[in-house]
Amino acid sequence: MKYLDEFRDPELARTLLDQIEATVTRHWVMMEVCGGQTHSIIRNGIDKLLPPEVELVHGPGCPVCVTPLDTIDKALAIASQPGVIFCSFGDMLRVPGSDRDLFRVKSEGGDVRVVYSPLDAFRIAQQNPDRQVVFFGIGFETTAPANAMAVHMAKTHGLTNFSMLVSHVLVPPAIEAICSSPTNRVQAFLAAGHVCSVMGYADYAPLAEKYHVPIVVTGFEPLDILEGIRKTVLQLEAGRAEVENAYPRAVQRDGNPDARRMLADVFAVTDRNWRGIGMIPGSGWELSEKYRDFDAAYRFTVTGIVTKESEICRSGEVLQGLIKPNQCEAFGTLCTPRKPLGATMVSTEGACAAYYNYGRFTESEGAPR
């Protein structure tokens, strides 16, 4: 595929790895905050090819994993209501709530539908005027413009049977929360490429300066990730702490102005509880007052939700990069993708699932080179 294959070239990958190896002189800890990048790193085995001095820590970049438990429970309650058509991205179907997931709701008779795009949910609402259609609007800033458009179109078309359960999360506050944590080890960040395609990267400059961390906007293909790491190592070795763009073909400094305008209209900043981490102020988006009518949290009264997390699940520590998935006692034994204890084991972008699915094989077992 054009724009994909070229950025998977093994020889160029080797070149970049050699450059990283030649540049690094001491141990550095860097974090990527993007589930898509986590997935790519582990699926391509990039972490296994990096020199041992470069430590990659996987951050809370999986919106599926960080959706607060009570939001999931709310979604389950709404999806169980008779007459509701509950639409969601595929990722969310297996995320465990307090006692079940959307798959179970489907098996019990709920009309739960996987959609590729939020506009599909809008069309389902148009085609089913006598049913309430609810879309589960999760994601980082990358997905927000799509979700915003669906709500905007519902409003302009006067649909009374469409609403959205919103749980958007923002990257910069997450980076700030990680940097300001007393146990933080992270010295640099790879910023999520497509988040920056939408939002630009001006917001990261104050963070880079305040915490003296390099922040490099990075793409997703193996060469993009290696290039992001290479630029990061160069900065760290030189003692610099700047925002740099290693994904220029898809990211401009100001992002996408049309998208940002829509986002400012449809969403309002709010405090958000990140599952496994806790409350991060100003780290989420909810529907603005102008669009309050389309907020499923208001349209549906759901009471009696008692949230209960697994007591042995350590996904919070994994999400903050404090432990690696295979350092959790339950990893691979009590907690597997088949019977996940927490969200990081469910979503294929969750670090635990990625480790389990792709990364179980290590050098000690005689890995070929």
Partner: protein
């Protein structure tokens, strides 16, 4: 996609009823009409014609038996339909131990209201698939369930094949040093279904690869290839198949990702939906574990078939990491290939 049912013309007296009715499953006159005017003409063979409760057929000292149910939705998809799938699927399962498939028994569960024309086209597909595979549908059963209780049509096929005395092929027979081959591109069937699945549909040229593999297997054996294991990677895809064999044989499997053949458009579809081609179903491909020295000969045999032109050697069996399938990635690292949990879902991350 538009389904062309026009090629089938409905014989009297079935023409009087455009849809399947409960009576067609009642065992009375209507059932008999369905057999006489639909199933018999389509599947026509001596054993079936005698219309006994069971078919009497010639046997052998060793038999291979397999059964499978087919509930695919939508029932007509690019490249095939549920009927063709039901015949090829069972032919292949029977053939994977090296047996020659001979007979098929078929059970239909039809939903009241299923258009007769659709049933006719499906039965025709089955007849053609059986002929291409060289098997006979010798006995069957039909039940009809109330409207709303059956999703149109469910088909169960049970196949019987004869196994020569000197053939020993099974999932537990793979050995370190064996070459691993696949007979063609992976992911075609699953993505063909995805392309017409509601909510995810997209325009593409992807077609299901449903096909009988018994002729290819027979030729492999005739050519003297030392075959240890055969399996068709259906649900769960190549990943599930390789893992099952690795576990059953207590060996490790090492794959070179770049050598696994994938159709360009299937690859794009997987990229777009965030799916791994290794987890996507195939219905006309086989995986073969053969003695290392026979690898090239096996490859040549496969490539001699129209359904095998993209056959490739994709890896080898190793003694290390037993039960685990490891792939060398395109950029030279390694990753584990594992079975997925349940349904494969498209992702946004």
């Amino acid at each position: 996609m538009t389904i062309d049912l026009s090629g089938w013309s409905c014989p009297l007296p079935l023409r009087d009823e455009p849809n399947i009715m409960l009576g067609h499953g009642g065992g009375g006159k209507m059932s008999a009409e369905l057999v006489e005017h639909l199933f018999l003409p389509a599947f026509d063979n001596a054993a079936l014609r005698s219309l006994g409760d069971g078919a009497v057929v010639a046997g052998a000292s060793r038999l291979s038996i397999s059964t499978d149910s087919f509930v695919v939705h939508p029932r007509f998809f690019p490249g095939g339909d549920i009927g063709e799938l039901a015949v090829n699927g069972t032919v292949n399962d029977v053939a994977m131990c090296g047996a020659v498939p001979r007979y098929i028994a078929v059970a239909f569960i039809l939903e009241e209201g299923l258009p007769m024309q659709e049933l006719g086209v499906i039965v025709d597909s089955m007849a053609r698939a059986a002929k291409a595979a060289g098997v006979a549908l010798v006995t069957g059963d039909t039940k009809v369930v109330d409207r709303g209780h059956g999703d149109g049509i469910f088909i169960t096929t049970t196949g019987v094949g004869v196994l020569a005395d000197d053939v020993e092929i099974g999932p537990d027979r793979a050995r370190p040093g064996d070459a691993v081959l696949v007979s063609g591109t992976i992911g075609d069937h699953g993505m063909a279904i995805m392309s017409v699945r509601e909510g995810l549909d997209f325009e593409s040229t992807i077609k299901s690869d449903t096909a009988p593999l018994n002729h290819m297997i027979a030729t492999l054996l005739e050519a003297g290839v030392e075959v240890h294991t055969l399996r068709d990677p259906t649900r769960g895809g190549l990943a599930a198949t390789l893992t099952e064999i690795a576990v059953a044989s207590g060996v490790g499997v090492l794959i070179d990702e770049r050598s696994v053949p994938i159709d360009r458009v299937v690859q794009s579809a997987c990229e777009m939906l965030g799916m791994d081609p290794f987890h996507v179903a195939n219905e006309g491909k086989l995986v073969a574990f053969v003695a290392a020295e026979d690898a090239e000969r096996a490859l040549a045999v496969m490539r001699g078939f129209e359904i095998g032109t993209r056959a490739a050697i994709i890896g080898e069996v190793v003694a290390g990491h037993p039960g685990m399938v490891v792939a060398k990635t395109a950029i030279g690292s390694t990753r584990v290939i594992d079975t997925q949990i349940g349904e494969q879902l498209p992702r946004i991350c």
